[in-house]
């Protein structure tokens, strides 16, 4: 369904992706974990064609999207829904217009029908009576739900989640995780999420891939990842500052001595 082959991407001297390979099967829920600034968001932006790789290919249902022109890319993007880290709701529109945006643009439906569909999608993500509010009137968790409703409104085949639980309290974060699982079960979509929240990863993933130094270094189901012997993955999932992953500006010797 989604296949990234030997992907390279650099921003100036900073090589973010260095030969990354990733394959996500149809209907699968894949979570990519990795540290801050490791290039997780860059992967999502390549999958949906917002970025072009310096080298390598991105295949969506067998179509290599790296060579597509603008119109071809927009056609492919109709298969996608994406939930952004800060929800990225349009400030200039109210909630139902946000949710129904793709329907108004792509399907030429009447506004009355779009509003009905938007209200239905909002109900699916547990929001009732917010359709006429503006994004500024909602809390962070509610914004993410609206973002999710917008992502599923045009019934996409693939859902991308960019740090779905970042910035939320643990309870709201868990509610979002539940929603993601529910979306997968109800809509049978293929999904790719990126996160560094391990609780979220364990809950929503069929398989977890660890991104480190521009490559996927390990992939496996949550249970396998939990019991990994790979010291890098182990350090990341246990959230320890001591280990092979070095944090810039941190005195690692002192941490090791203390340990």
């Amino acid at each position: 369904m989604i296949k990234l082959v030997d992907l390279h991407k650099a921003f100036g001297a900073n090589k973010v992706l260095q030969g990354l390979d990733l394959e996500v099967e149809k209907g699968e829920s894949r979570v990519v974990i990795g540290g801050s600034g490791s290039g997780k968001s860059v992967i999502l932006k390549h999958i949906i064609g917002l970025m072009k790789p310096d080298k390598g290919d991105v295949f969506i249902e067998g179509v290599n999207i790296t060579n597509l022109d603008e119109n071809g890319l927009y056609e492919v993007r109709k298969k996608f829904g994406m939930l952004f880290q800060m929800a990225a709701l349009f400030d200039s529109m109210n909630i139902w217009q946000n949710v129904g945006f793709a329907l108004i643009r792509q399907k030429n439906l009447k506004l009355k029908d779009v509003k009905e569909i938007a209200i239905e999608k909002l109900r699916m993500v547990g929001l009732v009576g917010v359709e006429d509010l503006s994004p500024a009137e909602l809390s962070g968790g509610m914004k993410k739900r609206v973002g999710l409703a917008r992502a599923i409104a045009h019934e996409p085949e693939i859902l991308l989640y960019d740090e779905p639980t970042t910035g939320l309290d643990p309870i709201t974060a868990d509610a979002i995780n539940d929603l993601i699982v529910e979306m997968k079960e109800r809509l049978s979509v293929t999904s790719v999420a990126i996160t560094h929240d391990m609780q979220s990863a364990y809950k929503i993933a069929d398989r977890i891939s660890m991104l480190y130094k521009g490559r996927i270094i390990e992939t496996g189901p949550p249970d396998e990842i939990k019991n990994t012997e790979n010291p890098i993955v182990k350090q990341f999932i246990t959230g320890s500052a001591a280990g092979p992953i070095k944090v810039e500006g941190v005195n690692h010797e002192r941490i090791l001595n203390r340990a």
């Binding site: 603008e70 927009y74 800060m86 793709a102």
Partner: protein, 257 residues
């Protein structure tokens, strides 16, 4: 010495890059302008924003400019007995120069800043990326309506500024200095040609396009969070204003010689 040459070289590269990107954005805007669907609702909204909402400030500026111009011209021209030419001077100055330039500068400060800030905020909060993921071309959806509005609304507001400026001159010349109303209007119409008006409006069209393109460009390519939005907004006003003032000379040289 090498340090300064290096610095100059870097500045030239940055300028060339920026100029090239603005040109590419202009080409993309023209291309998207020709392709359906046409963003009529968005364009009307931007016309209100750029034109109608700029009117009050433009009106105040135009009336006082016309008034002060008449005041200065009358007291100066009186010295060599040409006080009855005030109407001509005010009308020619407003239509050929002050109307389009002042309107351009005000719209650049008001609507241009707002454009850059809005698009910049949309960029840093990923709203522009969100548009792309919802299969909507952001140049078509965001920039084309602003560009079209700039081209049409600047001349429209300039016409109003011209009229109000001339009326301001009339108030001072006739009301304050008690000269003949008939002489003011006669001198105005005797020497004012249609070319003065429409060439002024051509300049306004160009200024409108420049403000919309530059401000949209600055906003569209914002990076660096809130600080980046601030820089984009300042940059939009500065670059638009400089473009208006510099291009004004060349346009005037081309249109009025």
């Amino acid at each position: 010495m090498i340090k300064y040459v290096e610095l100059l070289g870097k500045k030239i590269i940055v300028f060339s890059e920026e100029f090239g990107r603005i040109l590419l954005l202009l080409l993309s805007t023209f291309k998207q302008m020709m392709l359906p669907p046409f963003e009529i609702k968005n364009t009307v909204k931007q016309m209100l924003e750029i034109g109608v909402k700029s009117l009050p400030v433009v009106l105040v500026t135009a009336i006082f400019t016309g008034m002060v111009f008449a005041l200065q011209t009358y007291t100066g021209f009186k010295r060599f007995g040409a006080a009855d030419m005030v109407g001509t001077v005010v009308a020619l100055s407003m239509t050929r120069e002050l109307g389009p330039v002042l309107t351009g500068l005000i719209v650049a400060g008001r609507a241009g800043a707002a454009m850059a800030a809005e698009l910049g905020t949309m960029r840093v909060t990923e709203q522009i990326d969100a548009l792309e993921t919802l299969a909507t071309n952001p140049v078509k959806y965001l920039i084309v309506p602003r560009f079209i509005s700039g081209i049409f609304m600047l001349p429209a507001v300039t016409i109003v500024a011209d009229i109000i400026g001339i009326a301001g001159g009339y108030v001072v010349t006739v009301g304050l200095f008690k000269t003949s109303s008939v002489v003011y209007w006669k001198r105005t119409w005797d020497y004012l040609e249609m070319g003065d008006i429409y060439n002024g409006l051509i300049k306004a069209c160009f200024f409108g396009a420049a403000i919309a393109l530059i401000s949209s460009y600055k906003g569209f390519y914002t990076s660096g969070g809130a600080e980046g939005v601030g820089k984009a907004t300042t940059g939009a006003v500065v670059l638009s204003s400089m473009t208006i003032l510099i291009s004004d000379y060349f346009l005037s040289n081309w249109l009025f010689r």
